[in-house]
C-alpha cells in the first residue's frame, strides 16, 4: 500500500449521510455530478448561443428590432455579395497560405534553440513574447510600424535611397493583406517553434549517434531521423494554427478594420461590421455560421490525426 495513505481512515458517518455517501461513491452518479458545474456553463453560454445564432441567421433581426423568419435568404444574399467573396478569399489566404511560412520559420527557430546556448531559458521566454502578449496590444505596435507617416520601415528605405516617399502600408489592398499576413506569421513563429522544439527534444539521442556512425551527413540525419519524429507535431500545430487564425478577429480589427474599402476583411471582422456596426444581427450571424463547416472540417481532421498518432 502507498505509505502516505495509512493516515487516512474511513470517516465515521451518521446514518443520514450514509445514503448520500453511497450516492457519491457510485461512479455513474458521481461522474454526472462532477460534470454538472462545467456543463451548465457550457450549456447556457455555448450551446444555447450556438442554437440562437442559427435561429438568428434565419431571420432579418436588427439591433433593437425583433425580426421575422426569412429562411435561407441571408445565406443566399451573401453568396451574391462581392465583399463577402473578398472576405472568404482573404480568410483562406490569411489562415492557409501563412501556415507554411510559420512552420518553416518555426522549425528554424526550434533547430536553433535545440542547441546548447548560454541563457537559453531567458532566450526562450523572450522569443515567445509575440505569441504570449495580447494580440490586440502587439498589433498596436505593428499598427505604428505600418503608419503612413511614422513608419520606421519607410524611414529606413528612404535613407537607403530605395523609395522617394513613405509607403502607405495599410492603405493599399495588396500591401495591406501582405502586412496583415506578416503580423500573423510573426505571432505564429514562436508557437510553432516551441511546439516543434518539444518534439525535437523527444527524439532519442541514440538514433542520431547510430546514424552518424553509419555515415549519414547532417542533412540525411535530419530527413531520416529527426523529421519523421516531428512530422506529427508539425501537422497538429498546423491544424491548430489554421483553426485559430481562421476565426481571428483582433489583429485585423486593429490594423485595418477591414479597410481600405472593405478589402481586407476576414469572416470575424466582416461579421462584426455587419452584425454590430451596421446592426444587421441576422446577416452577421449568417456570416459567422459560414465559418462553421470549414472549422468543423479542420477540427475533425485534427481529431482523427490525433487519435491515429496516439
Amino acid at each position: 500500500m502507498h505509505p502516505s495513505l495509512q493516515s487516512f481512515s474511513p470517516q465515521r458517518m451518521s446514518s443520514s449521510s450514509i445514503r448520500f455517501d453511497n450516492f457519491l461513491d457510485r461512479e455513474s452518479s458521481l461522474g454526472v455530478l462532477l460534470m454538472l458545474p462545467g456543463l451548465s456553463i457550457l450549456a447556457v453560454f455555448l450551446a444555447y448561443p450556438f442554437a440562437l445564432g442559427i435561429w438568428l441567421s434565419l431571420t432579418d433581426t436588427r439591433i433593437g428590432m425583433p425580426g421575422e423568419y426569412i429562411g435561407l435568404w441571408n445565406y443566399i444574399d451573401l453568396l451574391e455579395d462581392d465583399i463577402f467573396h473578398q472576405t472568404a478569399w482573404n480568410t483562406m489566404i490569411y489562415a492557409l497560405v501563412t501556415v507554411p511560412f510559420k512552420a518553416i520559420l518555426g522549425l528554424g527557430l526550434a533547430l536553433v534553440l535545440n542547441n546548447h546556448i548560454r541563457f537559453s531559458n531567458p532566450i526562450r521566454a523572450f522569443v515567445m513574447l509575440p505569441w504570449i502578449v495580447p494580440t490586440a496590444l502587439s498589433s498596436l505596435g505593428w499598427f505604428m510600424i505600418f503608419d503612413p507617416v511614422f513608419s520606421p520601415i519607410s524611414w529606413l528605405l528612404i535613407q537607403m535611397g530605395l523609395i522617394e516617399s513613405n509607403i502607405n502600408f495599410l492603405g493599399d489592398q495588396v500591401i495591406a493583406v501582405t502586412a496583415i499576413c506578416w503580423v500573423n506569421i510573426w505571432r505564429g513563429i514562436p508557437f510553432f517553434g516551441i511546439s516543434i522544439l518539444a518534439g525535437l527534444q523527444a527524439v532519442p539521442h541514440e538514433l542520431h549517434e547510430q546514424a552518424a556512425i553509419d555515415g549519414a551527413n547532417k542533412y540525411h540525419r535530419f530527413m531520416n531521423v529527426t523529421f519523421p519524429h516531428i512530422k506529427g507535431i508539425i501537422m497538429i500545430t498546423s491544424l491548430l494554427s489554421i483553426i485559430w487564425t481562421f476565426a481571428d478577429f483582433q489583429l485585423i480589427y486593429i490594423l485595418t478594420k477591414g479597410g481600405p474599402a472593405n478589402q481586407t476583411h476576414i469572416f470575424g471582422t466582416y461579421a462584426y461590421q455587419v452584425g454590430m456596426s451596421a446592426t444587421e444581427i441576422g446577416m452577421g450571424a449568417a456570416i459567422t455560421l459560414y465559418m462553421f463547416p470549414i472549422l468543423a472540417f479542420f477540427s475533425i481532421l485534427l481529431l482523427r490525426y490525433m487519435r491515429k498518432s496516439a
Binding site: L5, S28, V32, G38, I41, A198
Partner: protein, 280 residues
C-alpha cells in the same frame, strides 16, 4: 555539437539566433522607445527614429492621469482571476470524471469537450451579445467572468484529464479499499499529485482571459468598465488625434503581467502548450 570550430558554431547558431531575435522582438523595442519620447520628436524627421534623443515619462503620466488605465487594469485582473478560478474548479471536476469514472455518456463526452475547445468566440459573439443583453449583464464584470469559461473549461479539462491519467490507478484503488470516498481521493491524493498540471492549466487560462478582445470589446463598452486591450485600443485612438506615446505605453504595460507570469513559469506553460500535441 560535435562539429566544427567556434566560428562555425557562431555562424550556424548565433547568427540565426540574432536574426530571429531582431525579427521577433523589434515591435517591442519600437513600442518601448516611442513610449519614452516626447511627441514632438516623433514628427522631427531629422532624428533617427530608432533611437531616443530626449527621454521623457510624460506619455506614462498622461496615461495614468488622463485615461481610466487603473480601472482597466483592475477590471482585467479581477475578471481574469475569478474566471480562471471558476474554470479550474469546473475543469478539475470534469477532468477527473472523464479520466476515472464510468458514467452515461462518458466516452462521447471526452471528444465532445475537445471539439468544444475548437469553437472560437468569433462564431458565437453575435448571439452571445443577445444572451448577455437578456441577462442584463452588459458593462458588468460578470458578462466576461461567465463567458470566458466557455473557452477555458474545454482546454483545461482536456489538459487535466491527460494529467490525471498519468497518476497510477493503483494508488487510488488501495485508498478505495481503505474506505476513502472518491471525493476524498480526489482532494487528498489526486490534486496534490497534479499540482504541475493544475499550474499550467491556470497559467493558460489566466493569459487567455488577459488577452481576450472580442467579447470584452462588445460587452464592456462604457469607459470605466473596459479591459486593458479594449481600453487602449478604443480610448487612445480617437479619430485623427493619436496619442502614439501613451498608446505604446499602455500596450507595453498591458503586456507586462502576462510576460512576467510566463517567464516565471515557462516550463509549465510549454508543457501546457504542447500537452495536446504530445499526449494526444
Amino acid at each position: 555539437m560535435m562539429v566544427g570550430s567556434e566560428s562555425h558554431r557562431t555562424l550556424q547558431i548565433y547568427i540565426p539566433l540574432v536574426i530571429f531575435g531582431l525579427l521577433l522582438l523589434f515591435p517591442f523595442y519600437w513600442m518601448t522607445i516611442v513610449s519614452l519620447k516626447p511627441s514632438s520628436d516623433l514628427f522631427d524627421m531629422n532624428f533617427n527614429p530608432f533611437w531616443v534623443q530626449r527621454f521623457t515619462f510624460e506619455n506614462y503620466t498622461y496615461l495614468f492621469e488622463n485615461t481610466a488605465f487603473w480601472s482597466w487594469l483592475w477590471n482585467t485582473m479581477i475578471i481574469a482571476i475569478v474566471s480562471t478560478a471558476l474554470s479550474i474548479f469546473c475543469s478539475i471536476c470534469i477532468g477527473y470524471a472523464l479520466a476515472r469514472l464510468k458514467f452515461p455518456g462518458s466516452n462521447f463526452m471526452g471528444i465532445g469537450i475537445f471539439l468544444v475547445y475548437l469553437v472560437p468566440p468569433t462564431l458565437l459573439f453575435i448571439p452571445m451579445a443577445q444572451v448577455i443583453g437578456a441577462l442584463n449583464l452588459f458593462n458588468t464584470h460578470w458578462s466576461l467572468i461567465l463567458t470566458y469559461p466557455t473557452q477555458l473549461i474545454p482546454f483545461a479539462s482536456w489538459l487535466l484529464m491527460g494529467y490525471f491519467l498519468t497518476i497510477p490507478k493503483e494508488i487510488e484503488e488501495s485508498a478505495l479499499m481503505d474506505g476513502c470516498s472518491r471525493i476524498q481521493i480526489l482532494i487528498r491524493i489526486v490534486l496534490p499529485l497534479s499540482v504541475p498540471g493544475i499550474l499550467s492549466a491556470t497559467i493558460f487560462c489566466f493569459t487567455l482571459c488577459w488577452n481576450e478582445f472580442l467579447y470584452a470589446l462588445i460587452f464592456m463598452s462604457s469607459g470605466d468598465m473596459k479591459t486593458i486591450p479594449v481600453g487602449t485600443v478604443s480610448d487612445l485612438i480617437k479619430a485623427d488625434t493619436l496619442f502614439w506615446g501613451s498608446l505604446m505605453a499602455s500596450a507595453l504595460l498591458g503586456s507586462v503581467p502576462v510576460a512576467f507570469i510566463y517567464s516565471f513559469f515557462v516550463k509549465y506553460y510549454v508543457s501546457g502548450l504542447t500537452a495536446s500535441a504530445v499526449k494526444g
